[in-house]
């Protein structure tokens, strides 16, 4: 059997395909076997389990699939699904939600980034190469040629000059070394740019539309005319009304409520800062008065002043009858040569730093009076003879009534004004007296001030003057007057010549009585508030005189040592009065205690004269005005009051026990009677006329 020349085949293969398979590994005869496996072992061992060998170089690494525990578990379907990823060229740092204000639409709008916004430019270099066929190049060519020509010409010119002058070697222009020359350049680091901006809210806008045409203009003018005609038809007033405030002013900080609040805050701040002073004002009683009977002292409290009136003199003082903490001060000047404007300032004890109300008049203020029936009305008499009526409750600074040449006025300074009590059926009115010798009664009617002369003061020389002396006839110059509290028609007039006359409203022809005693001008005259037969007068002849109205010579004459500016009775004691002198002293007398010496003689101002004095009705306080424009308030010590401190207690009692009204009234009446008794007793002593029983 011929053995087939076969290679080493797998035994399996041999079996299947051929018969008579040769034995394994037996070489065939005669043929040099190319296979180098004479006695070969089976090399193909990898198909079977490989034996452990040292070199792993040719082996594939053992693959082991390890799943991390937090790997997303997806189903097979999901694993198969395709996920697309798109790469865009957008700049991720660019914000996508910028909002800008659009003026066209007047609102804020979203401004998404455009195409160019995503481009970040890192380096720009503008080139200068031009296409040879472009217009630009042709232009540039021309310019270059021109330049070159010019240069050549310039060179030539220089050369000619040079050669003409001397032998100058032509210097070659420096040209760049083409061989060793190299450009050097550096690029600095360009910091990346950032754009920021801030937009403010634009101011609020309003829309307005209208028409303008000839008939519209005509119509509106016509309505204007009609309106103004109606206004005129209502009649003219002399009453000046307030200016209307702007709406703008009435809101917020300038509103009425704010003003009220500020007023209260101001008062409280002042009271807090002057707390001690207020405590003294209310409760301080000078204990040393117990040990010195017949002597008293004045405790200075506050000094009221206003900066614009510093150079003016205080010419009048008046307490308000209803608001007893309010008093009015009139500023002017007694000097004939130095006259300026006048001021009226109303101060309150609750706010001592600044006046509550301020009024300005053209001429100096000489006298003031509050009306007892209408406590907001203030009558003012001025140096130029005019009288005005102000209303402190309205916010205008102009007078509600003023005297004009048409209404009639005084020709000389108005030294005193006094309101009369209101009578039913009659207009409210006031009296004024002036140096021109006239006493006028002014009545305040609906829209004007009417003047009516009451009496002309004829000058009657005193009985003692010589007959050889030239009898001075004519009018006396009135300085002051006072109405009798009980019998309203009687009044006293003090004159500059020193005489005091008693007159009656109803009888203007003659004086009822003349009182001669003073040698110089009588500056103040006042009836005693309790005993209506007694009055007191003060004069610049240094004396204060006490009179009984039935006697034409004084009961008592007191010398104060210096010109007396003013004298006033105390409203709670019938025998106490205060006088001020021009050396700055306040003299307080109590005639039931001491008839020659004052209980208190105290200097209250330095280097100024005291002009006026006034008692407060509710408190034991007096105010004095001086010629330097300040008003000082003083508290009377217990000895000066002339009465036990029962007035204050009474007031407190009234506040607490309203039911005991009757009792309080009784107390008041008792007190009053006591005072009257006192005065009568005094009068007896002084030798006055006996009462008709």
């Amino acid at each position: 059997m011929r053995t087939l020349r076969k290679k080493n085949l797998n035994s399996k293969d041999v079996k299947t395909s051929l018969k008579g398979a040769p034995k394994k590994g037996v070489p065939r005869k005669g043929t040099p076997s190319k296979s180098t496996t004479p006695r070969k072992r089976k090399v193909k061992k990898e198909k079977k389990s490989p034996p452990p060998e040292e070199d792993d170089l040719y082996k594939e690494p053992i693959k082991q699939i390890i799943k991390p525990p937090n790997q997303l578990q997806l189903t097979a379907d999901e694993l198969k699904s395709e996920v697309t990823r798109v790469l865009t060229g957008d700049d991720p740092n660019r914000p996508k939600n910028i909002v800008k204000f659009s003026y066209k639409d007047q609102c804020f709008k979203l401004d998404p980034p455009g195409l160019a916004d995503h481009m970040a430019i890192h380096y720009v270099n503008e080139g200068y190469s031009m296409h040879t066929k472009s217009k630009e190049y042709e232009n540039q060519k021309k310019i270059d040629e021109l330049k070159k020509e010019r240069e050549e010409q310039a060179e030539k010119a220089i050369m000619d000059e040079a050669s003409a002058n001397s032998n100058v070697v032509k210097t070659k222009e420096n040209s760049k070394n083409r061989f060793n020359f190299s450009d050097r350049a550096t690029q600095t680091l360009n910091n990346p740019m950032k754009t920021t901006f801030v937009g403010t809210e634009p101011p609020p806008v309003a829309q307005y539309s209208a028409n303008v045409s000839q008939w519209q203009i005509y119509d509106s003018y016509v309505t204007e005319v009609i309106v103004s005609q109606m206004e005129r038809a209502e009649g003219g007033f002399s009453r000046i009304s307030n200016d209307k405030n702007d709406d703008h002013d009435n809101v917020g900080l300038h509103s009425e409520e704010a003003k009220q609040t500020l007023k209260i805050v101001e008062r409280l701040v002042n009271q807090n800062s002057q707390d001690e002073m207020y405590q003294d004002f209310k409760y301080w009683e000078d204990a040393s008065d117990q040990y010195r009977p017949g002597e008293g002292s004045l405790l200075p409290l506050w000094r009221f002043g206003y900066e614009r009136t510093k150079r003016k003199q205080v010419t009048s003082l008046c307490w308000n009858p209803s608001n007893t903490d309010l008093f009015a001060v009139g500023y002017g000047s007694y000097d004939f040569l130095q006259q300026g404007s006048g001021y009226v300032c109303c101060f309150s004890l609750k706010n001592t730093s600044y006046p509550e109300y301020i009024f300005i008049t053209e001429s100096g203020v000489m006298s003031l009076d509050f009306s007892p029936d209408y406590p907001s009305l203030l009558a003012v008499g001025c140096y130029d003879g005019n009288v005005y009526v102000f209303d402190v409750s309205i916010s205008s600074t102009k007078p509600i009534y003023s005297s004009t040449i048409a209404s009639g006025r005084h020709n000389d300074p108005v030294w005193q004004v006094r309101w009369e009590r209101e009578e039913p059926g009659k207009d409210l009115g006031f009296y004024s007296i002036s140096s021109d010798g006239n006493v006028y009664n002014w009545s305040v009617s609906k829209n004007e001030l009417k003047m009516e002369p009451v009496i002309q003061l004829k000058f009657l020389p005193s009985v003692n003057s010589d007959d050889q002396e030239m009898a001075i006839t004519g009018l006396a110059s009135g300085c002051c007057f006072d109405f009798n509290p009980k019998q309203d028609h009687l009044f006293l007039v003090g004159t500059e010549e020193g005489n005091i006359y008693q007159c009656s409203k109803s009888y203007s022809g003659q004086y009822l009585k003349n009182y001669y005693g003073h040698h110089m001008a009588v500056y103040s005259v006042q009836w005693n508030p309790f005993d209506n037969d007694i009055f007191i007068s003060s004069s610049s002849d240094w004396t204060v005189k006490l009179w009984d109205f039935r006697q034409s010579s004084p009961l008592l004459s007191l010398d104060l040592g210096n010109s007396v500016g003013d004298v006033k009775w105390s409203p709670y004691s019938s025998t106490t009065f205060a006088a001020v002198s021009s050396e700055g002293k306040v003299h307080v007398y109590d005639l039931s205690e001491n008839r020659q010496e004052p209980l208190c003689k105290q200097k209250v101002v330095k280097r100024s004269k005291l002009n006026k004095v006034s008692f407060s009705k509710n408190e034991f306080v007096i105010i004095v005005g001086d010629d330097k424009g300040s008003v000082t308030s003083l508290k009377l010590s217990p000895n000066l009051r002339g009465v036990s401190s029962s007035i204050e207690e009474d007031h407190d009692a009234q506040q607490l026990q309203e039911e005991d009204d009757d009792e309080y009234e009784k107390k008041k009446v008792d007190e009053k009677e006591l005072q009257v008794e006192r005065m009568k007793a005094l009068r007896k002593v002084l030798g006055g006329v006996k009462d008709d029983i």
Binding site: P203, P204, V205, A206, Q207, Y208, S209, A210, N211, V212, S213, Q214, Q216, I217, S220, Y221, V222, E224, V225, I226, Q229, D246, H248
Partner: protein
Amino acid sequence: MEKKEVDQEELKKLQTKPLIKYSDMPTEMGGEAVEIITMAIDKHQAKKNYESAAQMIKNTMDKKFGSTWHCIIGEGFGFDVTCQRKYLLHIYYGCTGVLCYKS
């Protein structure tokens, strides 16, 4: 009866008295503006040269109160404008209407 009364005085009124039809400005500014307007129109009244009057008004207002004022003078026109609040003035003066606003 009223008409007759009105006639005489009316003429007086028509002469040189500005009448504020609508004002959104604070009073003092409004007063100044009215003065400026009356001055400008009076100055150029001869030739009824409203253009130069308006120019003058606009320039003065710009200088005084800040930029961008608009001034319209005419004898018959209608308008609908958007302006800054508190900066509008509409007056009649003589036979012309003047609108002046800031925007």
